[in-house]
């Protein structure tokens, strides 16, 4: 564990990445010249004002959207030019998404929602159920596995979504304003859960408006008009002080 902390291994490397949207005749530079490296075990917060490009960056990191130019290595693989089916596989195995508005399927129970990524991975039914229940237990909701999302509170729904992200045990968790739709108290609970997961070794990238939340992260990246600047000094020293 100590050795790993001293020599962190690289998980994500982004170089000179640009993302542009065409709006009518106008070109919107959502991301400009982004270069960023994220290591295994990092807890990284991305903060910035509305419209600064946080979600766009998150979508690129999550392989939901491709960059216009630049390169993006994920776990040693250049993903910006990969085929759609391979991207789906990467999303399935390497990334767990936690959305601001939970994005659970309302027709399915909590357990079925958590099982979904495992279904697409082709895990056999019995194993799938065990893994999904284990993930629900991790977020303290194993007693609610048969409930549908609309029978759960907002905080519980977000915990189900976190369980779904965890179920396939992906190295990276991407959270886009995970506490945005929650009250302060539940937000704190969810943040505690996220920090716990980070302590267990998950790499977590967290988007937030909230400075107090960003402060809890090991690294903070500020984004403004599509450009990033890192705060909080050298991450190695920072991590050491945590």
């Amino acid at each position: 564990m100590n050795a790993a902390q001293k020599q962190p291994t690289e998980l994500i490397r982004i170089e000179q990445l640009n993302k542009q949207y065409k709006m009518g005749g106008e070109i919107v530079h959502a991301l400009s010249d982004i270069s960023l490296t994220i290591n295994h075990g990092d807890l990284l917060a991305i903060i910035g004002p509305s419209g600064s490009g946080k979600s766009t960056l998150m979508n690129v990191i999550g392989c939901l959207d491709g960059p216009t130019t630049g390169s993006y290595w994920l776990d040693g693989e250049e993903v910006s030019r990969l085929r759609e089916s391979r991207l789906a596989e990467i999303r399935n195995r390497k990334i767990g998404f936690i959305f601001q508005n939970f994005n659970l399927l309302n027709k399915l129970t909590a357990l079925e929602n958590v099982e979904l990524p495992l279904i697409y991975r082709g895990v056999p039914a019995k194993q799938r159920k065990e893994d999904a229940l284990a993930a629900l237990a991790k977020v303290g909701l194993d007693s609610r596995s048969g409930h549908r999302p609309n029978e759960l509170s907002g905080g519980q729904q977000q915990r189900v979504a976190i369980a779904r992200a965890l179920a396939g045990n992906p190295p990276i968790l991407l959270a886009d304003e995970p506490t945005g739709a929650l009250d302060t108290k539940t937000g704190v609970e969810v943040m505690r859960l996220i920090k716990e997961l980070n302590a267990q070794g998950h790499t977590i990238i967290l988007i937030t408006h909230d400075l107090s939340i960003a402060e809890q992260a090991g690294r903070v990246v500020r984004i403004q008009d599509g450009r990033i600047s890192e705060e909080g000094g050298g991450r190695r020293e920072h991590r050491a002080s945590v």
Binding site: A88, E89, R91, N103, L104, K107, L116, Y120, G168
Partner: protein, 390 residues
Amino acid sequence: MNIGQAFRMAVKSILGNKMRALLTMLGIIIGVTAVIALVSIGQGATKSVTDSVASLGTNSLTVNINGRGSTTTIDYKEAAEFSELEGVEVSAPANRQNATVKFKTTSASVSVVGVTPDYTTAQDYEVSSGRFISQIDLDFLQRIAVIGSGTAEDLFGTDSPIGQRLLINGIGYKIVGVLASKGSSLSGSNDDIVMIPVTNSERLFKSKGVSTVYIKVEDGADMDAVTTELENALYKKFRANEDAYSVFNQADVLETFSSISDTLSIALGGIAGISLLVGGIGIMNIMLVSVTERTREIGIRKAIGAKKKDIMIQFLIESIALSGLGGLLGVGFGVGIALLVSKTTSLGVELSYPIMGLAFGFSVFIGIVFGMFPANKASNLKPIDALRFE
């Protein structure tokens, strides 16, 4: 993701909106119901026709004499000699007339047929009581009669007719036998009949000779060869006048009917095809609406790792499940209607498993064809666009 999983998902989604699913399937249900009901009734009708033709025996031939000049008939002895031809089992000349028969005060209008002893074999009649007409009756012009079961019932009710005297056109005949019931054929009832020796009938109706000869061909003999032989014999007899006679083959009649029923089937198939097509368009319509409604769901599924193929299969299976279930319900309703028709009317109904299989198979096929476009549309959604969709 495997097919079983996709199927469970589809069933869940269909059950989640039963009313809409039912309305979506309605086109297919009506189409399949119509086909199954119509085909069952149509085949029932065809079967009753072909059965009555086949009851005459598929190995029988009928010779009709139309005549040439003054000879419009053939001598019964000459006709009986056809049995000596290769492959012919029996040759039964018959002289059929309509007449009124009377027992005491009851009278009935029947066919009176002058026959030879071979007639029962040639026409597959059986004697249920008494005896049939024999050669001696012919030779001695005995005034005896064998009556059909229908005539027996009309004139005698439940009493035994054997030994009673019957008046045919005012002349008395003694009843010596009663025939077993044979049902109806194309030429009317086979049971409202009275048979007398052909020699008597010539005298009674003052008509010399017979105009019809029923031929029964030996089992396994070549019908075409026998037909040719008969035609040759007749050709000689009528001095090369081919219009004077005709040889009529039951197999030909059956063929004609089966070609009629084939045409009918094709027409029904066309109607079925069109209604299923309309049903398919209905399914496509609803599936497209469903894809739009569920864009967000598709986005979520894609974000957590669903491939294009997975989404495609999910929607395709859903449309197949809809059309297949519609087809199944249609088969059920169709069979129900057919059974109801056969219960409440005199129409015969013939349920055909291949047609049911075909109708079901075709509705599944419709589901595949018309599900393809919506499924493809769903699978091609970009995950990011789908997630952003409100």
